[in-house]
């Protein structure tokens, strides 16, 4: 393939990748009652409808709350696991890595089904947020682990030993040596865990209790029966929120988030 042809081909694929997202964003500014293209006119009409729709507003609050809880729990568990993996795992290193990445490698729908049966079998049920939060923590844990362990790649255990020989206790060693090293990985991992939790669908769908719809679930339910551009306004706000988190962390905080 010649160079210009290849470039053109790639541009077409990039357009294909962006098309459905761009279409949703454009549709959200439609001033008409239906999703017509090109839009009959442009307005913020559907954003006003969306912001006054208590069902969607409650769903956003639920999503943000669960994402925040997930981020904290996953952040703590994932960071601890990554520290173990890097400096203590020894022969178990490969086993630990595979176990930590397992939630990412297993099909999400199967994990969701498995958790649904399990919370019922042990009597927890889905009356509380417990099942859903566990699911979210599981699904975000690999990203926490990848980010924190990547930030420790340059870690040399002899630094910690040097500090120990100079009289530093375990906690001081963690605070003065380990923490500054892993801080970017922890923050990046947490932000990414937040986004994943905010967007995850299947786990929430199967493990939600009554009246605990997250934003993606509410949107999915809405789309099965409605065709107004309100859904596009909801989607656009969700896209802007996740993109904002990524842009802020990568451009402003200068973090490099590992997604794989």
């Amino acid at each position: 393939m010649s160079k210009p042809f290849l470039t053109l081909y790639c541009l077409i694929i990039y357009a294909f990748l962006l098309a459905p997202i761009a279409v949703v964003v454009i549709a959200s500014f439609n001033s008409g009652a239906f999703l017509t293209f090109p839009p009959q006119g442009y307005s913020f009409r559907w954003y006003v409808v969306f912001f006054n729709n208590e069902v969607f507003m409650r769903a956003i609050r639920t999503s943000l709350g669960i994402a925040a809880i997930t981020m904290v729990i996953s952040g703590i568990i994932g960071t601890m696991a990554a520290m173990f993996y890097v400096s203590h795992a020894g022969r178990l290193k490969e086993t630990v890595r595979i176990a930590m990445l397992a939630p990412l490698l297993l099909p999400e729908v199967l994990t969701a089904i498995a958790l649904l049966f399990f919370v019922y079998s042990v009597g927890i049920g889905t009356q509380t947020m417990f099942g859903m939060v566990v699911g979210h923590v599981l699904i975000t844990l690999p990203f926490m682990f990848i980010n924190v362990s990547a930030s420790m790649e340059s870690y040399d255990p002899s630094w910690s030993m040097a500090a120990q020989s100079l009289g530093a206790g375990r906690f001081t060693r963690f605070r003065r040596i380990m923490l500054p090293l892993i801080k970017p990985g922890v923050i990046g991992g947490c932000l990414f865990a937040f986004i994943i939790s905010f967007d995850v669908f299947t786990i929430s769908f199967l493990l939600k209790g009554v009246g605990m719809s997250t934003l993606p679930i509410q949107l999915f339910d809405y789309l099965r029966t409605n065709f107004t551009p309100e859904a596009a306004a909801v989607s656009t706000c969700s896209i802007v929120l996740t993109m904002a988190v990524v842009v802020i962390s990568e451009k402003v905080l200068g973090l490099r988030i590992h997604r794989f």
Partner: protein, 286 residues
């Protein structure tokens, strides 16, 4: 004097304990529980009843409807994987080897769809593919078609949307495989008189096989287990196995039968992946 080895106490184990408990109790046990569930008795008004049976598997094999659905789901998975491979390879090559200024932008463009929720991406496709969607409207306003093309509520629509959703998962592993190939190998081939095409066919392509293999397995497994996209694009008319399973669990509470279906799909998928892995490794060595 030897450097004192880190004290082997319970301390380090405490670091991994929460993750180990989480994965052991809430991932390993629940997966084993699916197998148990698939042998339970179907319940009346409850998800399942006491006692065990092979009946759920009997029901699955007795009805060709379910077998056909597995076949259809596998077929959709094959086509999605094949299209992702063919469409994605040139992009992966460009991202790995192209020296244009587009590279960083291209990388961002490939990754950014992954940050948008799956419901939203599938919703975008319903706007594009629907009978009154953008594609049909545009084509009919140009006078190319008389009636709307059937792009949604069929396998074609599902495949188009799945290719979109999973393309990045094909591009990224191939890209890193190509990045790992020493460019001087290709230069050496060229200096020995191989044409550009021959150098690519004999050097780059075979060396990028592991990336292609990883991408194919990833996309295939993701396509088989996709729920949101087939459900929104296929509607009630075309259902993949994952959609049937989830509906059986949520709408009709047939947990034991749903588990049997989920396991049959998983086993079939795993067999295909293993055969594919074997075949591609043999080809790679040959």
């Amino acid at each position: 004097m030897n450097a004192a080895p880190a004290k082997k106490g319970l301390g380090p184990l405490l670091l991994i304990a929460p993750a180990a408990v989480l994965i052991g109790v809430f991932l390993v046990l629940p997966y084993l529980n699916i197998v148990v569930m698939s042998f339970r008795m179907p319940g009346q008004g409850t998800p399942y009843a006491p006692g065990f049976t092979f009946g759920n598997y009997g029901k699955f094999f007795a009805d060709s409807f379910y077998i056909m659905q597995v076949v259809n789901t596998l077929w959709i998975g094959f086509l999605t994987t094949f299209l992702c491979l063919v469409l994605g390879y040139p992009v992966a090559w460009q991202l790995a080897r192209g020296n244009s200024a587009f590279r960083a932008l291209g990388y961002a463009l490939v990754l950014s769809p992954l940050l948008v929720g799956i419901v939203i991406r599938s919703y975008g496709w319903t706007i594009l593919l629907g009978n009154n969607g953008i594609i049909n409207r545009t084509l009919s306003s140009w006078g190319v078609i008389d009636g709307p093309l059937p792009l949604m509520y069929n396998a074609l629509g599902i495949i188009i949307a799945l290719v979109h959703v999973f393309l990045p998962f094909m591009i990224l592993p191939i890209m890193s495989a190509i990045q790992g190939i020493d460019p001087s190998l290709e230069l050496a081939a060229r200096s020995l008189g191989a044409s550009k095409l021959t150098a690519f066919r004999r050097i780059t392509l075979p060396l990028s096989l592991p990336g292609m293999q990883a991408g194919c397995i990833l996309v295939f497994v993701l396509s088989l287990s996709a729920y949101v996209t087939p459900s929104l694009i296929g509607g009630l008319r075309v259902k993949t196995m994952a959609v049937t399973v989830v509906d059986a669990l949520i709408d009709t509470f047939q947990w034991p039968f749903g588990s049997a279906m989920a396991l049959m799909l998983s086993v079939t998928g795993a067999v295909v992946v293993i055969i594919f892995g074997r075949l591609t490794v043999m080809k790679w060595k040959a």
